[in-house]
């Protein structure tokens, strides 16, 4: 099969037997490849070199507080949805060193190292995850202060997205308008098609870089019939979503219901375990911790993932402001679905459903919103922040 050079927007057809070429082309360019793999009975992201390391023939069954992997007959590469990890582990690592300080005669000196983040190719990024990356971009690289750690990693990322052809039990990307088709931001996007006769992928080119990589891989231009089949499969996933969330005027709904008794009800179930914030591809709370060695000769500052569910997340001298489980759950949900919109212009939820799957007691964010909508308080004043801020220097 000829190697064709194509441009942005074109769709190519890649045979399963040639998939490894894609990984090799990335490897040749110096990319480390992170892809889904199976470990400890879950789909986790890890570095791979060969297509054989992907979860071939695996699918998942998810529910409130449940996750199971199951083998299936078809040797699909992407027959599952999302697992407990998200790509934020590469872009926004769980722990990094911010800087180091050394005691000197004058006092102390602070220094930081030159960063050389590796080039990483993220293989198998779902539409919801792609949108999650775009949202974290807003937090870390589109505000007044840019996080150089995030930016350095982000500039060196290649994204190989995957359009879902099967929705999971806890998926609601269709409601959040973030999937199942990958939106803008990918270099290449695949749709897996596996039937009795064929196993191949429709590959859409998103960027010049994507086109360059694909040029090294044996593939041909995708015909109309096959691209139509891909579209159909994606459309089917869209109709098959396990969950839905009505986001009509959700900001106003939540502002009006800060004192809805439903929060007390969910607080009785919530353990404050922080699982939801850890698995969420968008949650970005982090803590800053200062360390010294035993002699006090060097000190360092590290940044670690944190969660608004911890007891001292809102601690100021004297005590925490959000003491009760109820206030913390309310903060998490209201921030994610309402405050986020004012802060960053989008929802803070992409409908991936991880928080439902990995909550030990199966708290379902879509159900909580539904319950609040149904029991909505009337006549209480709405919170408004007419101007986001004033007097900025």
């Amino acid at each position: 099969m000829a190697k064709t050079s194509q441009k942005i927007g074109d769709q190519a057809l890649l045979e399963r037997s040639h998939f490894q070429q894609l990984l090799d082309a990335l490897g040749k360019r110096g990319y480390k490849i992170a892809a889904p793999t199976v470990r400890d009975k879950a789909i986790v992201y890890d570095e791979v070199a060969s297509v054989e390391e992907l979860p071939i023939g695996w699918t998942d069954e998810q529910g409130g507080g449940t996750y199971r992997l199951k083998r299936q007959d078809e040797p699909t590469l992407f027959g599952y949805v999302v697992g407990p990890q998200s790509w934020k582990k590469y872009l926004f690592p769980p722990e990094i060193k911010l800087w180091e300080a050394k005691k000197s005669s004058a006092g102390f000196q602070v220094s930081s190292e030159k960063m050389t983040p590796p080039k990483m190719a993220l293989v198998g990024v779902r539409a919801c995850e792609l949108q999650a990356i775009a949202i974290q971009d807003k937090v870390f690289s589109e505000g007044e202060y840019i996080d150089p750690f995030y930016l350095a990693r982000r500039k060196n990322i290649f994204i190989l997205a995957v359009n879902c052809t099967r929705a999971g039990e806890n998926c609601f990307c269709a409601s959040m308008k973030t999937g199942p088709r990958a939106g803008a931001g990918f270099d290449l996007a695949l749709t897996e098609i596996l039937d009795r006769k064929n196993h191949h992928f429709v590959v859409e080119i998103g960027t010049e870089l994507g086109a360059e990589i694909l040029a090294e891989v044996s593939c041909e231009k995708a015909g109309e019939e096959i691209t139509a089949a891909a579209e159909k499969a994606i459309a089917q996933a869209s109709k098959q979503m396990g969950k839905t969330m009505d986001t009509t005027e959700i900001k106003q709904l939540l502002f009006r219901n800060l004192e809805n008794p439903r929060w007390d009800e969910v607080a009785e179930r919530c353990l404050g375990c922080c699982n939801c914030t850890m698995v969420c591809p968008i949650c970005f709370c982090m803590n800053v911790e200062d360390y010294t060695d035993l002699k006090g000769a060097t000190a360092e500052r590290r940044r670690k993932w944190d969660s608004c569910f911890t007891a001292d997340h809102s601690y100021i001298h004297g005590g925490s402001i959000r003491n009760s489980s109820k206030s913390r759950y309310r903060q998490w949900l209201t921030h994610k679905l309402a405050y986020w919109i004012d802060q960053f212009g989008t929802s803070g939820c992409v409908g991936c459903g991880r928080c439902i799957t990995w909550c030990p007691v199966g708290i379902d964010i879509t159900e909580e919103v539904r319950a609040i909508r149904e029991s909505a308080l009337v006549g209480t004043s709405a919170v408004s922040m007419k101007e986001k801020s004033h007097g900025k220097p």
């Binding site: 100021i316 001298h317 004297g318 005590g319 925490s320 402001i321 003491n323």
Partner: protein, 153 residues
């Protein structure tokens, strides 16, 4: 449907009130019940009610971000709750919450204010009683402030 007239007449707050004034009150009165933990009124809301407690206990409290809810004082059986309904700007400045199951008679503050304006004799009788409550609260508050059990001795 309970007749509120004898209940009001029997409540210490309205002791000595003329029958004709009592009848005016009854027109503004309803029976209310608060479950344990339920809010009676909230800081910032319009103060359009006045309560005489028949049974139970209500705590008047405020809250601080770090200390949480801070109780200030309690009102119980035979006592009156709330004067913000009579003093502008007619807004509650504190929260009030029932500690236990509480039965009270709620009087429509807006209605009462209008009646006080229309009939000054009635208004004076009400104002005397509310003034006494406020004076008692103020004095109690001053003594509370002295912190007599503390180090200052």
């Amino acid at each position: 449907m309970e007749n509120l007239e004898p209940l009001l007449a029997g409540h210490p707050f309205f002791q000595g009130l003329d029958l004709k004034h009592l009848k005016v009150l009854v027109g503004c009165a309803t029976n209310v019940v608060f479950n344990s933990g339920q809010f009676v009124f909230r800081e910032g809301e319009d103060a359009n009610q006045f309560f005489v407690i028949r049974q139970g206990k209500v705590v008047v409290e405020t809250f601080s971000p770090v200390k949480g809810a801070i109780p200030i004082h309690t009102r119980g059986q035979g006592e009156a709750l709330g004067w913000s309904w009579l003093i502008p700007p007619y807004k509650w400045h504190f929260d009030a919450r029932a500690y236990e199951l509480t039965r009270a008679i709620a009087l429509d503050g807006k209605c009462l204010r209008e009646k006080c304006e229309a009939d000054h004799e009635f208004g004076y009788e009400i104002m005397k009683r509310v003034a006494r409550v406020i004076a008692e609260r103020l004095e109690a508050c001053r003594v509370q402030l002295l912190d007599v059990y503390g180090d200052q001795g």
